[in-house]
Symmetry: C7
Subunit: 101 residues, 7 copies
């Protein structure tokens, strides 16, 4: 997997994330059917762009780093398939927040 | 609850708020059915972002602080669920005002 | 009422106004039914924000002050209920004009 | 009438105008029915705002002055009733031109 | 006609033009019925504004002068009637080009 | 034809082009019916404007010159008829590319 | 093919790409019918523009170079046919990312 992230560089302020795996069981241990598994909004940053240029001409670095756990908006983002695995590209400014460890 | 706010950092000019609990009884002590409970627009700020960058390149800090009591607009905001509790993210500029104590 | 205005601070360039009471009688003394009472567009400013930041980074103070009598646009504004009384929030730039005394 | 204009100050780049009275007779002296009287687009400026702030932070004064005869666009403007008389507010930039005497 | 142009001053970057008269006959001398006369897009500039202020605060003069023969876009422009004659106002930037003599 | 180009000056960043003549025969020499002749996207620049003013106040010259062979977008552009010949006006920024010889 | 790229220069921040050839067989060697061949989003950069001018007046070079392997968005881009071969033009900012070798 590390290989994939070394090989793909998002452009500008784009951030490549991998969504967390869905929870397959309830806390009580009961299997959750796929339809009842909500959309996963937590994700791990796996690659970041070099930042976008703002109107002043300055390039602003993205505000997350590889490995950050982030909260995604419910809509938006672009699905990309790299080495048969599903990732998502979000603009840095569309990421809602990050979870500190 | 404090733990949740330590762990989630909203991005840019986003503000995480927790709405006040709905009033369950009238002043006269009569139970208010859930349907008759209006949308709660008062909320407490529980986490704030580091501010958004404006066109001049400057990062503008958000104008509310954790603990502030604020008035929310009737529409807008993004519901986020953190540790099974419901919060809302609003852009700093969409918050209508704050209540001074 | 003064207490309410001390306690609520509009954000940025928002202005809290209280509309004038509707006229209940004609000049000739005849009662005006509620339906025939036009929308009240005159209002008194009861609280103002600290001003909005423009693109140059500068914060521009609002152009009305508490106590000003203003003319509101027919549409727009946000109704807010503070201490069971109805007020309206308008952006400074949406207020049409003020009445000098 | 002068009293009204002393008392109402349009905000920012707004201009208060009074439309010319409609022509009630043809040049030949025949009465023109109200329906056939076209929309009056000529108006007299009766009050002006202090100007609007542009992005550079500078306040730009309006480009007409009280007493100017102006040509209004066919659509737009906000009707305001001051002391039971009908006026119109236009943004300075929406006024098409002025008539020099 | 000169009198009309002296008396009306377009505002900002507006340009007052008079469309060329439609061609009433073919080159072969046959009358062209009114319906078959195409929309006249050639016009003469009869009055110009003082220019529009751009974001930097600078006032940019219009790029045509009185007497210029210009090509108008097929749509847009505002018809104005001055002294019972029909003119059109266009923004300087909407004029497609000018014919050099 | 040269006369036409000397006489018409496009405004600002507009570029006057003449589309290439459609190919009337296949390489094998078979006539192509008019309906099957695709839209011609290659064109020759025949006149250019003096450039458009950007927000900084600077006038940016157009990036093509008279005689350049260019690729046009499939949609857009304004048809203009000069001396009974058909040309098209495009904004400099809408031209897709140029062919180097 | 090299000849084509020498001859066509995209304008501004446009990037000319050639999509990868579709995979015609599965890894197991089975032919993939054309309908089942997904849209090819990987492409090779074959020509780049000189960059776009931003509001500050500065020209920003494109961020990919000829030969780069890039990931395209699923929608957008302009198909261009050069010497009977199909290419696509994308704005530099619309390219999702590049693959490092």
């Amino acid at each position: 997997m590390a290989r994939a992230f070394k090989k793909f560089l998002p452009m500008f302020d784009r951030v490549l994330v991998e969504r967390f795996a869905p929870e397959l069981k309830t806390k009580g241990g009961i299997m959750i059917p796929e339809k009842a598994q909500g959309k996963i909004l937590e994700a791990t940053v796996v690659a970041i762009g070099n930042g976008a240029r703002i109107q002043s001409g300055e390039v602003v670095p993205v505000s997350v780093k590889v490995g950050d756990k982030v909260l995604l908006p419910e809509y938006g983002g672009t699905k990309v398939t790299l080495e048969e695995k599903e990732y998502f590209l979000f603009r840095d400014g569309d990421i809602l927040g990050k979870f500190e460890s």
